[in-house]
Amino acid sequence: MDKNRKVHQFKNPVLNWIEFRLPIISYFKKEYGDYPMPKNCNYFWSFGALATITLVTMIVSGIFLAMNYTPHTDMAFDSVERIMRDVNYGWLMRYIHSNGAAFFFIIVYIHIVRAMYFGSYKYPRELNWILGVFIFLLMMATSFLGYTLPWGQMSYWGATVITNLFSAIPFIGEGLKTWLLGDYNVGNATLNRFFALHYVLPFVIFGVVGLHVAAVHVHGSNNPDGIDIKTNNDSVNFFPYMLIKDTVAMCAFGVAISAVIFFGPNLMAEVDNYIPADPLVTPAHIVPNWYLAPFYAILRAVPDKLGGVLLMFGAIVILFVLPWLDRSKVRSCNYRPIYKWFMMGFFVNFFALGYVGMLPAEGLYLLIARVGLLYYFGFFFIITPFVGWIEKPSKLPLSISDVYSKNITPNIGGGEKGIPSPAMQKDTNL
């Protein structure tokens, strides 16, 4: 215990009373009030906040759903429909939850794209990136478990296909699969444990998100130019400058997700999942959630089952070591003339993998999946280290405030003659 601790003084005596016992007020002031953000951060930097909002929304709507859901193979399907029909605003909770999962992945994918393109994973934010990939992994597990719960045809067969992957592991595979399922086949025991795990994992995610945020606050956020904050003039305070930007982003996101929730709530769902699970009838197409399709495409691109499983998991595990594969000191791809295009190619390739992952693995689709698989791993193992070695990056700006004032002038000041530039306007206001 530190007897010489300097206690922050506030005007409000209640705050002082709390602060003296638990310095939470000064913590929030430091981390969310005066916390410096690079002032050139664009709306890509709002997706972390959007992801947090979505996570909380998913947890809250999920708790309400769990109050009315029955995890039993005979009743699960009907209980979900009962929520939609007889529970007050149950349809709203369920459509928020099912579409929220898809939007959660869209947001997190954009968040990852941003981190990759602008080099946010590099020194000194490697651990932050690792925690992020870990969150992504937990999210995939959670969404897979949740997809099983409505106990429709796709729930049942998706669970069957994915749990079967474990049986590919030599020697212990079959035993491991049985242990995971609690039965020899996907059944009531499986549904019960999947429900229990689906309920608890979001709270684990929440905890890791806390670490993820704490870690980014140590060295501060990266920015589109990938250069560090040097002076106070390079940054703005989180409150109110970034908070208001995040709020604008939240409203735009609200419009987008509401359009789907209220006017096309089943657009992103598989129709087969409105058919109750039937172990005797295999659906024509077994497809995963579309947001997991790129990894499913990788799985199916490999003729060997064990190889496919290893590569699918490898595709995620490889992300953990990305900070050490990329040896370039320049963070932002805006200043990396060669790597930038390979990076864009990686995003397009990932999208293409997702597209063929939803289609039958045959003919041209299979070929695209295989080429995509090669590029996916080639990007990490060959392109990333090699380009970092041969590429000559363009000249980095001296400071964030430099690049910010250059960016902003043509946007606002470049109008008709006679209108003062924003800098002059500001002077007259003062």
């Binding site: 209220f262 024509a284 693995a361």
Partner: protein, 249 residues
């Protein structure tokens, strides 16, 4: 091995899909389409009559209650009468015996068969699917159901239709166990609406879509308000943001 089998299934089913996709699913003009689309209560009531007189002989609607019909414009008294025409098994009573009684509005739609096995036994081994959420459970939804009901045409030359099967140009694989359920005049309407096959099919599909998404009108209504809220709040916040950031140079 099972994975290979599944890949094979994916492969083979795509062949069917390629075969079928020669003709595009025609789109019917539904009153509930679009952002402000609403259900046509009269069409749902007529559609319920079609369901009751034609479909209900084989197809259950386990998720619906008779009381739900109040939402489509039947009065409580009418719903009581409708329900009382069915018999449900209740009990056990104080003597420990099961007994039959007329259905009440709080009962679920009575199943035409005692169990799935009886349903199969009575239908050549084919199970008539439950229709509660059928328009959500098929690709193209309402348009698929509507066209399927009218899709019984002569099979193309050289095609063998299996025993007890019928040719339908919209069914996956083109063979369906259900004989053509609807023809011109199969059901008499009380309100004088023309009862040709197209009208009957459209009405029963309208009814089925209401059954699958009874919350649709409330949902769209709330959706407009929520989106307006986000647009208005977003605009205000955006203007405030511009004002705030003007001083950041």
């Amino acid at each position: 091995m099972r994975l290979l089998l599944i890949i094979f299934l994916l492969f083979s089913s795509n062949l069917f899909a390629a075969e079928m996709s020669t003709e595009k699913m025609p789109k019917h003009d539904w009153s509930f389409k679009g952002v402000t689309g609403t259900f046509d209560r009269a069409a749902i009531q007529r559609g319920y009559k079609v369901y009751r007189e034609v479909c209900a002989g084989c197809h259950s609607m386990k998720l619906l209650y008779y009381r739900d019909l109040i939402d489509v414009g039947f009065s409580e008294a009418q719903v009581k009468v409708i329900a009382s025409e069915y018999t449900v098994l209740d009990g056990p009573n104080d003597d420990g015996e099961m007994f039959e009684r007329p259905a009440r509005p709080a009962d679920r739609f009575v199943n035409p068969y005692a169990n799935d096995n009886e349903a199969r036994a009575n239908n050549n081994g084919a199970y008539p699917p439950d229709l509660s959420v059928i328009t959500k459970a098929r690709k193209y939804g309402v348009d698929y159901i509507y066209n399927l009901l009218l899709g019984y045409v002569e099979p193309p030359k050289g095609m063998e239709v299996g025993n007890g099967m019928w040719y339908n140009k919209w069914m996956a694989g083109n063979q369906i166990a259900m004989p053509a359920p609807i023809a011109d005049g199969s059901v008499d309407y009380d309100d004088g609406t023309d009862n040709n096959a197209e009208q009957l099919s459209a009405d029963v599909t309208h009814f089925l879509h209401w059954a699958a998404e009874p919350e649709m009108e409330e949902r769209k209504n709330l959706g407009i308000k929520v989106i307006l809220f986000f647009i208005i709040l977003g605009t205000i916040v955006y203007l405030a943001k511009n004002r705030l950031w003007r001083d950041v140079t």
